[in-house]
């Protein structure tokens, strides 16, 4: 099915995807923002669709997507706490919102149609707790910029949800700029509707001595293509990236994580857990790049896939691109079915097959899940993440 060298057919788009629709929709905005949108729209129109010739797109088939039925771009509801709306904050113009490290057709579309852009700006030495909950329309464009100044600390939880089943589009961009000595925990939970094509980029820049924990859960959507990129540009920066993915039916999750060590004595720890049922499919490509001069890098990447049905398929592809000596880099990956001995053990204590399976699957996610912040105001977060994943995977009793 995947043939490198062939180009994706353009995704069929309806009249909502037009310059006229853009002008009409954002008529009342300030000029600088309108200009930004127009320029982005022009770049969207002039840039090519991703091609299967691109290595990073070759495992995801866009051919079945059809967005002619989408009548309106944008919309949806965003609830924020601890974050400001971009355009309403004085620093907005300077910050200019999140910037993708590499523009694609999807990030250009995101910039053209984004609404309710969130800005979390934490002053030097300050602390912040922020939550951003986005409930999507037919097509929506989450856009978030998190800026942590020197020695500040923040926990930011962002949820993308949509409980409809219709075909939809979500194209998001989140940028996390983490200043020297700052500490950030960013949790993303994606629970989009069953028919949604989700194209997403999360990118982080880590300055010297900063400490970043990313917990990224994907449970919803029909198709997800997610780029998670972290650049450790300052000496001694530390990154933990914990991914949790659940898939059922014919869901397709294609996750590309790239960690760039560009400064000495930087540390990264990547842990992905994926559980699939039905005919779901996942791809995880984890790339660790160690640039020249990034000596004493310590990087480790592990991914494990649990297949709850015979038809499910998961691929983990680790890549190490190391340009310097004196580094420690490692990776591990494993894919397998549910362990029959574990199942028998739990069932021998009276749990039904479904209950036993659920417990094993929850256990499978546990080590990545414990990295999500909990307690106090954030007490709901781990349960919410667990619940989002488990709803997709609910055990045998229901599925027979």
């Amino acid at each position: 099915m995947t043939m490198p060298g062939t180009t994706h057919m353009p995704i069929p788009l309806g009249s909502a995807f037009s310059r006229e629709a853009l002008e009409a929709r954002f008529r009342d905005e300030p000029d600088w923002l309108k200009t930004r949108r127009r320029l982005a729209w022009e770049r969207f129109e002039s840039s090519p669709w991703p091609s299967r010739a691109d290595e990073e797109w070759r495992r995801t088939d866009l051919a079945r997507l059809d967005y002619r039925g989408i009548a309106r771009l944008g919309g949806g509801q965003t609830t924020m706490d601890g974050a400001a709306l971009f355009g309403h904050a004085p620093e907005s113009c300077e910050q200019a919102g999140p910037r993708p490290s590499r523009e694609t057709k999807f990030t250009a579309l995101n910039e053209a149609f984004a609404e309710a852009e969130a800005l979390v700006h934490v002053a030097p030495g300050a602390t912040r707790l922020a939550s951003i909950v986005r409930r999507g329309g037919e097509a929506f464009f989450p856009r978030t910029l998190v800026v942590l100044e020197e020695r500040s600390e923040a926990v930011v939880v962002e949820v993308e949800e949509d409980d409809s089943c219709r075909s939809g589009l979500c194209s998001g961009l989140a940028e996390l700029r983490v200043g020297p000595g700052a500490k950030l925990t960013y949790v993303r939970v994606q629970v989009l509707g069953e028919g949604v094509g989700n194209f997403d980029t999360i990118q982080a820049t880590l300055k010297a001595g900063s400490d970043v924990t990313l917990v990224v859960a994907n449970a919803g959507g029909q198709l997800t293509k997610q780029f998670v990129e972290a650049s450790l540009v300052g000496e001694g920066a530390r990154l933990g990236l914990f991914g949790l993915t659940a898939g059922a039916r014919s869901q397709h999750h294609d996750i590309q994580a790239t960690i760039v060590h560009a400064a000495p004595s930087t540390t990264s720890d990547v842990l992905y857990r994926t559980a699939l049922r039905g005919r779901a499919r996942s791809v995880f490509v984890g790339t660790i790049q160690v640039k020249k001069g990034a000596s004493k890098t310590d990087a480790y990447e592990a991914s494990r896939n649990l297949l709850l049905s015979k038809e499910a398929r998961a691929d983990s592809i680790p890549r190490l691109e190391i340009e310097t000596d004196d580094v420690r880099c490692g990776h591990a990956s494993a894919t397998g079915p549910l362990d029959e001995e574990q199942l028998f053990y739990l069932m021998s204590r009276g749990l039904t097959a479904g209950e036993a399976e659920n417990l094993i699957v929850e256990g499978f996610f546990a080590d990545a899940l414990t990295r999500a912040p909990g307690g106090g105001e954030l007490g709901w977060v781990p349960d919410f993440v667990r619940g989002s994943l488990m709803r997709v995977l609910e055990g045998r009793d229901r599925h027979g």
């Binding site: 029959e340 028998f344 021998s348 204590r349 009276g350 749990l351 039904t352 209950e355 546990a366 080590d367």
Partner: protein, 252 residues
């Protein structure tokens, strides 16, 4: 003689197409402790796993009757809810599932006369604390993943803790004594002795006379190559120490 609790009737079992049990008969009454002994590979674990309904154990003949009901075709969880319990020879690790959550989930499945038994968190805690103290298990156990990174002795204690918490009518303990130091062995044997009362049945699979010094079985069955070749009282275990299985099997 007490009520019949478990009847294993001419049981034939294959594992992956290979015959392992070749017509095993065994009957346990309320108030009795039985011991099953035999050389490595004789089929002892296969026997107790078949009684619990391990999907790998294919019953090709005979039946298993528990409290008057033929359970031979039943799923494992159904047998467990009816009051059968297996203490595993090699309890498997379940990473990410804490002992506390696991025990709570298991307790939630208990049935008495077919009715679900509700237990409050408070009652659960109280019962748990008491049994843990009895077995010399520390609180730190509860937050650890089930059997994950446990020493051999810790695993066995957790099996016995589960038995005490679930309160089965019939407990099959597969080499629960192996891997225990002498103090742990005494603790576990004490717990088994206390547990074995007038209304329950206990079946111990063991290699060692050592355990039988602390737990007095009413009957000893010697399993060799999938068949019971000898039965007797507690003294049979002593004979085995001196004679060995091979000679015993030859004599049979």
């Amino acid at each position: 003689m007490g009520e019949t609790i478990l009847t294993i009737d001419d049981l034939h079992v294959q594992v992956e197409g290979k015959p392992i049990l070749r017509g095993v008969n065994l009957e346990v009454h309320a108030g009795e402790i039985h011991a099953v002994m035999g050389p490595n590979g004789a089929g002892k674990s296969t026997l107790v796993q078949a009684v619990l309904g391990h999907p790998r154990c294919e019953v090709t003949g005979g039946r298993i009757v528990f409290l008057g009901t033929d359970v031979t075709g039943m799923k494992c969880d159904e047998r467990a809810r009816r009051g059968l319990f297996l203490g595993f020879q090699n309890p498997v690790a379940v990473p990410g599932v804490s002992v506390a959550n696991f025990l709570l989930a298991a307790m939630g499945t208990r049935r008495v006369d077919g009715q679900p038994q509700k237990i409050s968190i408070k009652e659960f805690r109280t019962a748990l604390k008491e049994k843990m103290a009895q077995l010399g298990i520390g609180d730190s156990f509860l937050g650890r993943s089930v059997n994950d990174g446990f020493s051999g002795g810790e695993r066995k204690r957790l099996e016995v803790l589960q038995m005490l918490m679930l309160g089965p009518t019939m407990a099959l303990l597969d080499e629960t004594d192996s891997g225990l130091d002498i103090d742990a062995l005494k603790t576990v044997a004490g717990a088994v002795n206390r547990y074995a009362g007038s209304s329950v049945g206990v079946l111990l699979v063991t290699h060692y006379q050592r355990l039988l010094g602390f737990v007095k079985p009413h009957r000893v069955h010697v399993l060799v190559d999938g068949c019971v070749v000898r039965r007797g009282g507690p003294d049979l275990a002593l004979d085995l120490e001196s004679v060995g299985y091979e000679q015993l099997a030859a004599e049979a």
